[in-house]
């Protein structure tokens, strides 16, 4: 097995799907000759030609709309947003057109919108957002956020094969920082299934994306203090794996919900509600959230550092909760 970075894993997953299924094609800004701003599509133009790697004008609404049209015509478009921040420029097409077609008149819209999101690289307020919840609130969409290279490959492949519009969040901080053995042969990671990244018994920590790694680091150091964290990686945010969340909560009886996204309207709020509704009797303490504060993502390093959840903040929350 080859060691692949998270970025390389996504690239390989798309590449394999392009080879496997001629209806898969790519569209986006600077994805062809340039190979994409982060080089996810590098080499694909040479391999698959101009009809399957389509460079577009700067027109997110047209990119998304065109992907919808092509999907309705039997293709499987994979549209790149150069940064996920710019997905807002295609918002109407996603939430009103793509998300509602199947519900309204039964047609399938098999398409993926993918791109880099997340902070940690001093990108400022418009290149660092975790805006997944804009879409998690829209029935008809699926929202995916892998944390490992293995998952990134398996989930992009599953997303491309899915018959629904999938918004695929790649965490740019992980692109070249995570690396692991990824099988070269075909495999998928099913949408809608969470993974327990680390077994534990005291506190269930539910998270996703780059925060999985921060959580694992915190779990490692807390273990030395005798606090055992179970780390659950949601992998898919819509639909999320309620069963996995609840069983981890029931097992540990205490829970921390962690995300890089801001607090109000973040996924932690939704999970807290479900846990309160369905596992209240199993809880031995308050449901605790560790999230970014409700501000835009700031640019200056000390500000961004303050903004982002980190090991320290998780450990503090875990200690308090353990002592509860």
């Amino acid at each position: 097995m080859a060691q692949l970075t998270y970025l390389e894993a996504i690239r390989q997953g798309i590449w394999e799907e392009m080879e496997r299924d001629p209806s898969v094609f790519l569209l986006g800004e600077d994805i062809g000759v340039y190979g994409g701003a982060f080089k996810v599509t590098a080499g694909m133009l040479e391999q698959f030609g101009e009809d399957r790697v389509v460079d577009t004008p700067i027109s997110e609404s047209a990119i998304v709309g065109a992907a919808i049209g092509a999907a309705l015509m039997g293709m499987r478009p994979v549209a790149e947003m150069q940064f996920m921040d710019f997905i807002s420029c295609g918002f109407d097409q996603i939430v009103n057109m793509a998300a509602k077609i199947h519900y309204r008149w039964g047609a399938a819209v098999p398409m993926v919108i993918r791109g880099p999101a997340g902070a940690g690289v001093h990108g400022g307020p418009f290149h660092s957002q975790s805006n997944e919840m804009w879409f998690v609130h829209v029935p008809g969409l699926k929202v995916v956020a892998p944390s490992t290279a293995y998952d990134a490959k398996g989930l992009i492949k599953a997303s491309i094969r899915d018959n629904n519009p999938v918004i695929f969040y790649e965490h740019k901080y992980l692109y070249r920082r995570t690396k692991e053995d990824v099988p070269a042969q075909d495999f998928v990671v099913p949408l809608g299934k969470a993974a327990v990244r680390r077994e534990g018994s005291d506190i269930a920590l539910i998270t996703y994306g780059a925060m999985v790694w921060t959580a694992l680091e915190a779990a490692e150091s807390l273990a030395k203090e005798g606090i055992s964290l179970e780390v659950v990686d949601l992998r898919t945010l819509l639909p999320y794996d309620e069963q996995c969340v609840l069983s981890s909560v029931r097992k540990c009886s205490k829970v921390i919900l962690l995300h890089e996204d801001t607090r109000i309207g973040g996924l932690a709020g939704e999970l807290a509600a479900v846990i309160a509704e369905k596992a209240f009797e199993d809880l031995d303490g308050p449901i605790v959230r560790v999230t970014a504060p409700d501000t835009p993502v700031p640019f200056s390093p000390p500000l961004e550092e303050f903004f982002l959840p980190n090991v320290q903040k998780i450990a503090d929350a875990a200690r308090q909760l353990a002592a509860y």
């Binding site: 800004e29 600077d30 000759v33 340039y34 701003a37 460079d55 004008p57 700067i58 027109s59 997110e60 609404s61 047209a62 150069q82 940064f83 921040d85 710019f86 807002s88 420029c89 001093h122 990108g123 400022g124 307020p125 418009f126 290149h127 504060p293 409700d294 501000t295 835009p296 700031p298 640019f299 200056s300 390093p301 000390p302 500000l303 961004e304 550092e305 303050f306 903004f307």
Partner: protein, 345 residues
Amino acid sequence: MAQAPSTKSHTKAPVPGAQTLERMLYYLKLTREAEARIEQVLYRQGKIVGGVYVGRGQEAIGVGSAIQLFDGDVVLPSHRDFSSFLIRGFSLREIFCNWMARSNGPCHGRDNTLHIGDMSRGVIPIISHLGDTCPVACGVGMVLKWRKRGNVALVHFGEGTSSRGDVHEAMNMAAVMKLPIIFICNNNSYAYSTPTEKQYAVKDLAVRGAAYGMPGVKVDGNDVLAVYSTVEKALRRARSGDGPSFIECKTFRMTGHSAHDAAEYVPRELFAKWKKKDPILRLEKLLLAKKVLNKKQVDDVDADVKKQVDDAVAFAEASPFPEGADTLEGVYCDDGCWWKNTPVE
């Protein structure tokens, strides 16, 4: 900034006098030097942590347009219109503090690059979402029209950005409402790696003006005097209530898209070709030939510009970073809000 116009004072086309010509050269050089320092020195030293986008080669557009704005006018520059900020009264010190994420920069470390606004100076910056300023310019234009003082809004965007729906919606609305807006397209031939033939299917974007019902003209964006006079006509039209104009300035991005982009997709000969059209050398030559300035005076400008940039860099480097918890301040503009900003009158 010049004084507010009386609505009558702009009926005849002014030719820039010696003083304006000198200011143009000064701002061209100051812009080039400041951006060079950011891109070629500070960025490489790791002192600018985010992205770096500069407008090398296209300085004449910002200078030739912003230099004729009056008090009360509003400019919405693109990410490559450094000069507009200088001409509207931002100091180099402020600007460098912003680039270097310092707490005393105009964004206090929350945002970077030229995302610097100040309504009292009539500057509304872009957000990264390209084209989003064009509809905003319409709102500015509406208010300026209601005030009847002959003021204008001037909004810049790239040819790539011109593909966005927001730009179309704004141009249409501005034409319908006869708003005093100048839409300036900085057509620098590449949008990131995308050449113009993959961006639009017309030869000149200028033809789009007519499609909305406004004049559309193209101009050599590397000729500051041509930019000046073309913008001047559009300004006169807007100030006297005849509505918006669209100006396509043809130029070239003499760099990669950003400091980390080597622009390998750009044929080398294009750089050589456009180097010969350098807007700064062209004006300098002209001013020497016309004896507006002598060699010694040009050298003095060069030295002065360098000194100013040195000073701004030193100032920014000595400035503190914000404190982490500062990030919680100012999300909302509450009573006594520290984020003071007075709308342009």
